[in-house]
């Protein structure tokens, strides 16, 4: 699992870390019972305040995505209903897309149509 942060993203950093872990769980790059990096290692890697990483890990634990083995570290919870996590991820993508659409004065239907058109176009190109 790689965790990286987008400097353009203005959401709180702990939220971004939580979402990166959720993404890794859904994609499978973080498998059941796989260890997460230690708070210290991740803080150093991301140049983030260690308290922020701890906050993200607490949040992940509260949501049941990870569990803590005392004195050993943090691990991915096996048997996660990844349907739930997938929906949460999709919800986030939708939120960002809607935000961007609204900013550009576009309505929901216009956005959905544009996504469909774009995807059809891409599929046609790929099949050529």
């Amino acid at each position: 699992m790689l965790i990286s942060l987008d400097p353009q993203d203005t959401r709180p950093i702990y939220v971004q870390i939580v979402d990166e872990v959720r993404r890794a769980l859904v994609l499978g790059t973080l498998g059941p019972d796989d260890p997460l990096p230690s708070v210290r290692d991740l803080a150093v890697k991301l140049r983030v305040n260690p308290n922020t990483v701890s906050q993200a890990y607490r949040d992940l634990e509260r949501q049941g995505m990870v569990y803590v083995r005392r004195g050993q570290g943090t691990y991915a919870t096996p048997g996660q209903t990844d349907g739930v996590e997938r929906r949460t991820l999709a919800d986030g993508v939708a939120q960002r897309a809607l935000h961007d659409a609204r900013r550009n004065g576009l309505g929901v239907n216009e956005l959905i149509d544009a996504i469909r058109n774009h995807d059809n176009h891409r599929q046609t190109e790929e099949s050529l």
């Binding site: 203005t10 210290r40 803080a43 150093v44 308290n51 935000h99």
Partner: protein, 307 residues
């Protein structure tokens, strides 16, 4: 109803606290009634233009300079009456190292410095020497600004003090070394319970580290708050407005910036989001976007001189 910028934190244990610090140089006011509150374990970013009083504040905390009025405490110890104890608990990187050790070699200086600090961690110091690529045989006087800064960072960190005062800690460092420095700081914070007060002109570099902010302008503490409060209370609103829009009377918040263009206005406001959106909408505007600000943009807005 407006929301003034907060200048006092909510209750909690403070590592560093000043009350009503005032300092004049001749007829120039360097600090005017500054009451800083730095919670234990915070990474507190002190921002402001040159001459705003950042370095003066840090110097008062070490009793390197004395205020004309007001008090300063580090862990409850008066910096004026208990200066040696305070200094023993503080690691300091000065903005301009101007003391006379130019003839000393880096290695000798570190040994010399270690003698003053019973908590000096020699193996950690060695690690820092490697990370910062210090050349121990060189004389302090011939070092570049960036090289000297790295020596000072090593001296400040290696005794693992409970408080770090870092005045422009990455000034003069190349991009790689700046990045390395923040890695070292993150590692340090994970390892040792430390409170940091940091001033920098490169605010974007501490976006992910700072959890408190104090904004100094012309010697006055204009705002002071936790990052969580800043993130919750400051927004940029982008609004589409009709032709010849009369404007909005009051926004229920403190307007820090307002940029107008034909049929479009952008506000940066400190205040309650829901009420502000409501005001803008009922005045005939279409709110297109409400976004939180990066730490750098927030700083620029809070320092806005047009007010």
């Amino acid at each position: 109803m407006t929301s003034p910028l907060p200048t006092r934190l909510r209750d909690g244990d403070l590592a560093v606290e000043t009350r009503g610090l005032t300092k004049r140089f001749g007829d120039q006011v360097a600090l005017n009634d500054v009451s800083l509150q730095v919670p234990v374990g915070a990474v507190y970013l002190l921002v402001g233009p040159n001459g705003a009083g950042k370095s003066t504040t840090l110097k008062v905390l070490l009793d390197l300079m004395r205020a004309d009025q007001g008090t300063a405490e580090v862990f409850g110890l008066s910096t004026r009456e208990r200066a040696p104890e305070v200094r023993a608990n503080v690691g300091y990187v000065p903005e301009r190292p101007d003391w006379g050790y130019g003839w000393m070699r880096v290695g000798r200086l570190l040994e010399h410095h270690a003698l003053y600090y019973p908590t000096w961690d020699a193996s950690y110091a060695e690690k820092l020497v490697q990370k910062f690529e210090l050349r121990l045989e060189r004389k302090m006087g011939v070092l570049s600004k960036g090289q000297a800064r790295r020596v000072h960072l090593t001296m400040a960190l290696a005794h693992r003090p409970p408080v770090l005062l870092l005045d422009e800690p990455t000034d003069g460092l190349d991009p790689l070394m700046r990045d390395e420095t923040f890695g070292v700081l993150a590692d340090h914070l994970a390892e040792s319970q430390t409170t940091v007060v940091l001033s920098t002109h490169h605010v974007e570099e501490v976006e992910r580290l700072a959890d408190h902010i104090g904004v100094l302008r012309s010697g006055e503490l204009r705002a002071q708050m936790s990052r969580a409060d800043l993130d919750a209370g400051l927004r940029r609103y982008r609004v589409e407005v009709p032709d010849k829009w009369p404007g909005v009377a009051s926004l229920n918040g403190k307007v820090l910036r307002r940029v107008t263009a034909p049929r479009e206005v952008q506000w940066t406001v400190w205040g309650p989001e829901t009420e502000i959106v409501q005001k803008l909408s009922s005045a005939g505007g279409t709110v297109r976007e409400v976004v939180p600000l990066s730490l750098l943009d927030a700083t620029l807005a809070l320092l806005n001189p047009n007010d």
